[in-house]
Amino acid sequence: MTSTPSFYHQSAPPGLTGIKAWLLTHDHKRLGLMYLGAVLFWFTIAMVLGLLLRTELMSQGRTIMGPGLYNSFFTLHGVIMVFLFAIPAIPAIFGNFFLPIQLGTDDVFFPRLNLFSWYLFMIGGLLAIVSLFVGDGFPDTGWTFYVPFSIQNSKNVGLTVTAAFILGMSSMLTGLNFVTTFHRMRDKRMGLMQIPLFTWSLYSTAWVQILATPVIGITFILVVLERLLSIGLFDPDKGGDPLLYQHLFWMYSHPAVYIMILPGMGVISEIIPVFSRKSIFGYKAIVWSSMAIAIAGSLVWAHHMYTSGMSDVSVFVFSLLTFLVAVPSAVKVFSWIATMYKGSIEMTPPFLLALMFIYLFSVGGLTGLVLGAAGTDIHVHDTHFVVAHFHFVMFGGTGFAFFAALHYWWPKMFGVMYTFRAAYWGAVLAAIGFMFHYVPMLILGLQGMPRRYYDYLPQYETGNFLAGFGAYIMVFGIIIMFVNLLMSFRKGVPAPADPWGGTTLEWKVPSPPPVHNFIDKPQIMDFPYDFKGVGEQSQKNGR
């Protein structure tokens, strides 16, 4: 045999066949693909929900649904997008698939625990579905589950919160696995400053997953207990303080934003140097800014609470810290752009998506400054401005990084190449639709339209109509993108081991990789982004 069989043809543990080879697998690659399937399922559902919400808002008054359904839908959209898409998307799919390979090892440290996390993820998702159909239906509290509303609410808050708790546990265990793998399974010859940036970003994310997730765990436990036993810990009539719920909630949910965005930044840090054929600029600065974002991101949670009635001292402290978090993100953006300077840039779909990421994420970050400043936040807090801001970060950032990662690693994961032309069309339409969708929302917010509004004052109609229009273009673009990727199976153009001229270890193994990733011991480079001698090799690929 000249070529080794890929992980599709060999199961781990050996001897399993058929569906069992997937459902009982310990192979991090298969698990990554299983997460991919589940996450795409949820993404599609939440995207459709979002589209329905925007359709409802396109004209004043009732358009396609009533207020009750609308409120449940935006809660469901939020819960799915946060817990079932944005948090697991990059770490659980691409992290599982590529972290061990980038570290030069054959699997994660706890392969069975990894499988268990996947099952937790599925159970959490299943519970979310169940909570739609039993009792009084899905909660209409918003994904923030603010007390006292979430405690008095008659709907299925308890079940939904339990689902989120289980999903949190899954995410935490994945983080635990990654940290252990990072420290114990890394190729012995690979020093800390020889680790690819994607893996570094996953490492800092993993710490946030481990340390922040339990806070939401206990918060949700308390919500459930409160609903079952009415202890009164958050009930103002019984001496409780609803603001403490908000503190606990954001103590997790703000760091969770970094769980979502840091891996995305890692993906971009991989893609930019490869297609610029130039080593990443400021490797150490990027590593340190990842860690700095992870740490500082845990210190700013109460900037979601300027209007909540908390003390002015708090507003001062948290506003100050918030502005300091902006700096490491800015450093990353500058480093990416400096990487392109005097490079030899090749346009490809993943690179185009990465450029879109930089632009959209910058808009997200800069609008965040408006929200970080105490005075201006008061005006735009809880308005469409906030909605647009975090969609720029979470969707323009994490979402587009996810698309970029999908296009970047697709040949490696499935061993087939896709068509570039359709991918460009999809990406461009998605980005144009994105701007049409969210820029009107920024303006609506500045004009004073609150979020989570089923209906609105007449002056907001034009903006809402435009936003809905943009949503359709965006979804159309995304559909083209996905259909194009799926069509690659039909065409079946085989992908070479290194279609892009990448330098990190995953490009040294066949596409798709064999079950133990490396046939021979991999060669570890002194610097993971050294492009000397890559030039001619990609000529041979004949592109």
Partner: protein, 198 residues
């Protein structure tokens, strides 16, 4: 393919899990701190209601069991299997004693009409309701951890009996021990905060 067991790695994994447990309880301690600042007088009154003797007794029981768990790990490393088994049985027994004490303590409170959403608490001082609310949640969650710890220790015991844990492979016992110590650690803070305040 790992040919040998990476004991340090298993331990790191366990510690990471323990961090998440620490933060889980940490969320409750945040509430405790904030509410203590808000209602110091009620917390003092509430603290007086709790029985210091039972609390101190439970502390001693947990410390003893922590010692025996640590000793069982020493024993297995030194190769004395019988001693390991003895220490483990004693530790599990201690956990049991702790739960029995807790049962009587909670029982007495509930008998006096002090339980979540009870008439006495709802109509009484709000601070007192919060104190006992936290008391039930924290000690309840801690009790749950005691039970989980006992299960882990029992599994280790079974594995020792089956000969699957010995002087060269004892990570399961080591990690169960770490878990048990964590449960002890949390109690060390719970005890003064609830039983000895002011």
């Amino acid at each position: 393919m790992r040919s040998e067991i990476d004991r340090v790695g298993l331990k790191i994994g366990m510690w990471l899990f323990l961090y998440s447990e620490i933060i889980l309880f940490g969320g409750l301690f945040v509430l405790y701190a904030a509410y203590f600042h808000k209602h110091p007088a009620s917390f003092a009154v509430g603290g007086k209601e709790l029985n210091r003797v039972i609390g101190a007794l439970n502390t001693v029981v947990l410390l003893l069991s922590s010692f025996t768990v640590a000793a069982s790990i020493t024993a297995i490393q030194k190769g004395s299997r019988k001693l390991t088994i003895g220490f483990l049985i004693f530790s599990i027994f201690c956990g049991f004693i702790f739960l029995v004490n807790k049962y009587f303590e909670w029982g007495a409170k509930i008998h006096h009409g002090i339980y979540p959403n009870s008439e006495t608490l709802v109509n009484g001082e709000p601070g007192l309701n919060i104190f006992f609310g936290l008391y039930y949640v924290i000690t309840g969650l801690h009790g749950l951890h005691i039970i989980i710890g006992m299960v882990l220790l029992s599994i280790s015991l079974a594995l020792v009996l089956a000969g699957k844990i010995d002087g060269s492979r004892f990570s399961m016992l080591d990690n169960s021990g770490l878990y048990w110590h964590l449960v002890d650690l949390i109690w060390i803070f719970v005890f003064p905060l609830f039983y000895l305040v002011l």
